[in-house]
Structures are given as C-alpha cells and as structure tokens.
C-alpha cells in the first residue's frame, strides 16, 4: 500500500468516526434557546442561564453595522455573525457551571452563561 493511499484511508476513517460521534443522542433532544442581541459593541443581556444536561441553541442577533464573532473557549464554539443579521450556534448538553462568551473582534464585549 502506498503512503498516499494509507493516509487517504486514515482520513476517511476519521471522517466516518466524526460523523458517528456527531450523531450523538444529546443532539436529538429539544434544545434550550438562548436569545442574545449584540448592539453598540455589547451583549444584551450579558448574563443568561440554561438548564444542565440539555443542548443549547444561541440565537445571536447582531444589530451593529459591522460583523462580530461570537466565541467561547469553554463552550468550544465560534461563529462570525454578519452586520444586521442573526447567527445560530448549537452547543452540546452542558454540565452545571459558568461559561464565558465574548466577541473575538471586540475585547470589551463579554457575557456569561450559567448552567444549573
């Protein structure tokens, strides 16, 4: 088997594994929706909450005239939301705790999700 063929098989194997793992039961549950507005470089509200062990869908409406990037290290998501549009970010079911989020383009725009 050539080196290229072996690498191709490994990549295909990995993609299959990802597809199987992504089809996890938790994503089939009804997600809790969290609505956020981004205006004048700030999240509103900046503190939100959600129940534990249920998937969460963030709906981030960017009212500013420039794009923002919703990002969170602990939630492990990032998504650019264009000016005057809405971004939808799906998050796995979470354990209780505090999860910070921010606009990666704006150091001052921050918020937190409390899961309980």
């Amino acid at each position: 088997m050539s080196a290229v063929s072996m690498m191709t098989r490994l990549v295909l194997l990995a993609l299959c594994a990802v597809a199987m793992l992504q089809a996890s039961p938790s994503l089939a549950q009804q997600a809790t929706e969290v609505h956020l507005t981004y205006s004048k470089g700030q999240f509103q509200p900046s503190q939100v909450s959600a129940p534990a062990d249920k998937p969460i869908t963030f709906r981030v409406k960017n009212l500013d005239a420039k794009a923002m990037e919703f990002e969170s290290t602990s939630l492990r998501v990032e998504k650019v939301v264009a000016a005057n549009s809405e971004g939808i970010i799906n998050v796995r079911a979470l354990k209780p705790g505090r999860y910070e989020f921010y606009d990666d383009f704006n150091e001052k725009a921050r918020g937190a999700l409390t899961v309980q």
Partner: protein, 288 residues
C-alpha cells in the same frame, strides 16, 4: 542554565502578574502553552488553523549534528469533541563527523501526517481537569535521525491532560506517550522500535497573552513495538513560552536539554544514541 533562565523569568513574571487582574482575562486554550507537552485543548467548533511547527534536534556524542522537522499543518475542529489535523513534513539534516551516521547536508520533503484528537474529559468551572486522547499516524520518506531515504510508518498515541490550578493563571500539563514505528531502509532492512514516555509541565500566565513555564520529559526507547527490548532512556528538561500576538495569531517555543540518560551496554553519561543533547520547538499559528 535553562533552569536559571526559567526561574529568573518566572520571578519577573510573578512581579508583573500581581499588577494584572487575571479575573478579567479571557479563558485560555491550553493546547500549546506547555512546549513539547501538549495540552488538552481541541480548539473551537468552526475554527480552522494553519501552523508551521518546527522541531530541531541538536548534538550527538561527537561531530556536528543538527536536524529539523517542520510540520506544515492544517487543523480544524468539526465538533465540540473532535479535532483533526493533517499536513506535510519537511526536514533538514546537517551532519558531519558523527559516529554511525553518514555526513550530509540536505533539505527534503519528508512525508505526511494526520492527527485525530478526542476530548474525553472536559473542563468546567467546577472541574479543573481536562483530558484528550490523540492518535497521530506519520509516514516518512526521510529518516528523522540520519536523514537517509527510508519508508517509515509511525503511530504516535498520546494522552494529554491538564489542570487549571489557579483560575486564568496557573496550569499543570501531563502527557503519556506511546510511539511504535517500523522502518524499511534503502538496504531492505526492517527496523521495528518504540518510544514511550511521560511529561509534566507547569505554566504561569504572566499577562493575558503571555505564558511562561517549564517541562520535564522521561523517555524510554525499545527495539520492539511490544516494549521487550529496552535500549536506553533519557530525561529532558527546559523552559517553555507561549505568546498570543493577536486574537488570531500566536507562537509557542520550547527548549529541552538532556540532563540525564543511559544507553544499555554503554557505560557513558547521557543517551545520545536514541535521543539528542538538545531539542527545540518553534511554532507559529494563524487561525481563521
């Protein structure tokens, strides 16, 4: 000397760190803050990254020995638990007068690799521990040590764990490594070997974008993937540095020196047959 440098910089850092309020800092992605030790981070879903990651190895028992291997790497995070990386390998060898190795000065395309990382235990505000399991198959056309043309297949398996000891400030990292490989040389010889080891690292976040630390590695080499033919071991020690220049660009650097080692059947200090006197890592990454 490396230890002194680390201690001095750590001292300076502590003084500086007291002046900053770590609670206002963003959470840190830990994958690259420990030098050769890999943290548990797997990136953010939707994130893509291009990196140039060079590891240099310097010093054998005699003569002049300098070799590098560079990964030109694309990595992405397709889900909140998986990270995938792949890319090409380039190598350089500058060897003169080293016993057992041919003299050569060369730059070559050296092969390819892929890496699959799965986050097994995730950190939360109530749990400071995070653990990732990683598998990295490598295919090499150039021998890492000698620079000779070969066909080498390596399957690196690691467990990457880290603990946030102080919120946003102090982190400890731990790796376990099992790296079996098989090599077919140009003379049609088959060489099977394995390296196993573990590491511990401590990293202090001095500023929101600067992390300084130190790490120690213990490595064992076998002439068998089943770990039945032990040939020697070594301890490597040195400082680490991580700097985030912009929200989308960072670098990491590390220097390890072999401080202890032994070769089976050869009563000399250090193990310079399977390992090197020094190794260095320099990595630049661009996220998009």
């Amino acid at each position: 000397m490396a230890l002194c440098a680390t201690a001095c910089l750590s001292f300076l850092g502590c003084a500086n760190a007291r002046a900053e309020d770590a609670s206002s800092w963003r959470e840190l992605e830990t994958k690259y803050i420990f030098g050769f030790t890999t943290g548990s981070g797997i990136g953010l879903e939707g994130e893509k990254e291009f990196t140039v990651d060079t590891i240099g190895r310097f010093g054998k028992r005699d003569g002049h020995y300098a070799a590098t291997e560079t990964k030109y790497e694309f990595e992405f995070t397709p889900s909140q638990f998986i990270q995938i990386e792949f890319g090409a390998l380039g190598s350089t060898h500058d060897i003169h007068g080293v016993t057992g190795l041919d003299d050569r000065s060369q730059f070559a395309f050296a092969g390819g690799f892929a890496e699959f990382r799965y986050l097994a235990i995730e950190r939360t505000s109530n749990n400071p521990l995070s653990v990732t399991v990683a598998f990295e198959p490598n295919v090499r056309l150039i021998d890492e040590t000698s620079g000779e043309r070969v066909h080498n297949y390596e399957f690196e398996t690691t467990v990457n764990a880290d603990i946030e000891l102080l919120k946003n400030r102090l982190y400890a990292g731990f790796n376990l490594l099992y790296e079996p490989e098989v090599t077919w040389t140009a003379l049609d010889q088959t060489v099977r070997e394995a390296t196993v080891g573990g590491s511990a690292a401590l990293s202090l976040r001095l500023m929101s974008n600067v992390v300084l630390g130190g790490e120690i590695w213990y490595l064992r080499h076998y002439d068998s993937p089943t770990l039945t033919a032990f040939t020697g071991d070594a301890v490597m020690l040195g400082p680490t540095l991580y700097i985030r220049f912009t929200p989308k660009m960072f670098m990491t650097a590390a220097w390890n020196t072999q401080v202890w080692g032994r070769e089976v059947g050869n009563p000399v200090s250090l193990n310079l047959a399977e390992f090197q006197r020094h190794r260095a890592r320099l990595k630049f990454a661009w996220e998009f």
